[in-house]
């Protein structure tokens, strides 16, 4: 029995597509090429098989996703995951929030930050650097985006340099993209 997951969780649900995933044995050469690399290097999921309906877009998107989240230098991987999770929070993408909150927990070995964020959102009692990052990412994810010069100043006051702010903008905006795919082309379900 499957039910739709409607509350934020760090237990990663299953993603049930609303659009028919491509059958791998029906894939064209271009579609197979686009499926060679996967987001975060995971197995070929229903999600990427749905996106494979547009192979030109997918073959640029996957290396872009992996580069924004994992390329060395600049902002730490953990803080990129905060940006991703904050965007998913605003856009109510429960699947993305679960995946990226749990990745943050794995990287840092700390579960308190995400637990506080899931309970109290932007008002969560967390360290000032994480708070400035969350505030920036939440405001950038609004529509229209609300980020102003003052939000940049607040990040600089917490020690983020230009490279780190650019990397945070990329990971947050990337989830403005990912959430709009995952949360509209399918939904999270729990199989009990």
């Amino acid at each position: 029995m499957s039910r739709v997951v409607e509350k934020f969780t760090t237990r990663v649900p299953r993603w049930r597509p609303h659009v028919r995933p491509l059958a791998f044995d029906e894939a064209t050469g271009e579609q197979r090429d686009a499926l060679r690399e996967t987001p975060s290097g995971t197995k070929i999921s229903d999600y990427v098989l749905v996106l494979a309906h547009d192979p030109q877009a997918l073959s640029a998107r996957t290396p872009l996703f992996n580069g924004i989240m994992y390329a060395p230098g600049g902002l730490s991987r953990a803080e990129r995951e905060i940006g991703a999770t904050a965007a998913s929070f605003v856009n109510h993408c429960i699947y993305c929030a679960a995946v990226h909150a749990s990745r943050y927990n794995q990287i840092t070995g700390d579960t308190t930050l995400m637990r506080k964020l899931f309970v109290d959102g932007e008002k969560a009692d967390i360290d000032p650097r994480a708070k400035a990052i969350v505030r920036f990412s939440v405001r950038l994810s609004e529509c229209p985006p609300q980020v102003e010069a003052d939000d940049i100043t607040k990040l600089r006051e917490q020690g983020l340099d230009t490279q780190e702010i650019l990397d945070l903008a990329l990971s947050t905006a990337l989830f403005g993209w990912a959430n709009r795919l995952m949360h509209t082309l399918g939904e999270p379900v729990s199989d009990d």
């Binding site: 609303h18 659009v19 028919r20 749905v50 996106l51 309906h53 547009d54 030109q56 877009a57 640029a60 998107r61 290396p63 872009l64 580069g67 924004i68 390329a71 230098g73 600049g74 605003v90 856009n91 109510h92 993408c93 950038l140 994810s141 529509c143 229209p144 985006p145 980020v147 102003e148 010069a149 940049i152 100043t153 230009t162 490279q163 702010i165 650019l166 990397d167 903008a169 990329l170 947050t172 905006a173 990337l174 403005g176 993209w177 990912a178 959430n179 709009r180 795919l181 949360h183 509209t184 082309l185 939904e187």
Partner: protein, 160 residues
Amino acid sequence: MSDANVLEKAGRVPAGGVLREAVDFRARLMELTQESHDAALVPREPGGLSHALRAALAQRIVRICDDPELEHHYAAMAGDADAAGHGMPGSTSDEERTSAILAYVDKVTRTPRDASEADIARLRAAGVGESDVVRLAGLVAFVNYQCRVARVLRLLGEQP
């Protein structure tokens, strides 16, 4: 294909300085962003979404997101092809398929948290095929990413 990098131009990234160095450090990501732009706006296989309609929908999104630099870019891309005025937020269509597409663009741009299976069902019922649903979702999602990065680039350039 566009030769200039649309995002760097819309983000008014200066020719030198700290921001230029940060952007150049992520040069591969800028290239892939440009490839994603071309895949969303001028794909080799446009399916049921013409290049002209895509440019008009992108224009609609960046207007909703209040981005004058990208509005300028997409207005130039749409040219005179957007005779129906789909680039203008709030505009509607009497044609069921176009009307469903515009409703999806508006909702997923403004309040993606409210999107549900019913929105995909409406597209399908209006004759938008499975691949075109994915193409449309990809276009909307990409432009929403692009305008957010452009905004931060402009702020960083003004306050280095």
